[in-house]
Symmetry: D2
Subunit: 117 residues, 4 copies
């Protein structure tokens, strides 16, 4: 993951908000709400589908799902920017935490939560 | 945004799931639920804070918020992978849509939704 | 649905918040976040289960799901109270809207959304 | 809270689903997604408002918020029905838990979480 490149996208979205004078609305609190709202819209695409159907989206439905995913990433980048967090550092850090929390030999093939072991 | 680099992270997370035989649980439907669950956890960090306080997180609270953001990006990448969508393409496409939907001269300083104009 | 009885529960929860001087935190905005946070916790109980498994919860898991449902209703009642809305009136009104939107002879056995017909 | 009355609403919504042959879609897993989707829509009404503005909804905006609240209660009742849980029992039980968890003399005026004390 190229962090400089990710920062370019951060800057692009910061400018988008600045040009519209939207920074006043973009507190982390508000952005978290907007992100969760988009996550809710994503759910609505899948809620009445079987798991199998959810993996076979195509055409208009796939396009719409892609737009929801984009909305979520946009808000994710904006929150990270407002909190001065490097999203890629955060992910790499979280993957390390998850590797310890879910060791391969212990969790293989199981969806149990860590604290249930 | 370096798409090849983003793909590296996609591959890293795909391997993480594969090593644990978790692909069976990773339908887009289930991953969308997991993402929305993490978005809910993010909300819990901010729900009783003022907007101003939400912008001043530090120490343990900031660290925890960062982990939630990472969880969300991880699921976002996994869903995109399962749907064969390029997340960066989707974001660039969505930014173009938003530029048309929210022209600077029309929306400057307003949080009204597009359809309310 | 006995509206007076529902109002009793509303009053009970209003007193709970008042006794703790929590009204200052209970703006509709904040309560909506808290409700969505609890909805996210509910999702986490079901996200890796099949639909069939989700219908067969028992013991500790069923108890935990029940607590999430209770949390959601508690926040739902608090928001309605803060907005001066009668939740039961709202539901009866919404059922009428849904009966028109989803006429039996048109939607029977289909999960398609209204606007896809 | 009149439990018999609440059961009447449960029966009314069960019939609504049955008449449309929608029971096949109404697994607790799917209903939890639908509920969280509606919670996401509720968030969207409040995300760019200040807390103060969120308490002053009127006209069309208040009506729309009321419909979202109704949708959430409808799905909440449907899930409880599918899990054979009595929603009112669950709330009364949860209020008792919360009274122990948040004793008045300890939490008065504070939004700290229980585990932060």
């Amino acid at each position: 993951m190229d962090q400089k490149a990710f920062k370019d996208l951060t800057v692009q979205l910061r400018k988008f908000a600045h040009d519209r004078d939207w920074e006043q609305f973009h507190s982390p609190k508000n952005l978290a709400m907007a992100l969760a709202g988009e996550a809710g819209e994503l759910l609505e695409h899948f809620q009445w589908l079987t798991e199998k159907q959810s993996a076979e989206l195509s055409g208009k439905k796939l396009k719409e799902a892609g737009e929801e995913l984009a909305d979520i990433l946009i808000y994710l980048i904006r929150i990270s920017d407002q909190l001065n967090l490097d999203l890629i550092d955060e992910v790499q850090n979280k993957i390390k935490i998850n590797e310890k929390k879910y060791p391969v030999d212990k969790v293989r093939g199981s969806a149990k939560k860590y604290n249930e072991y």
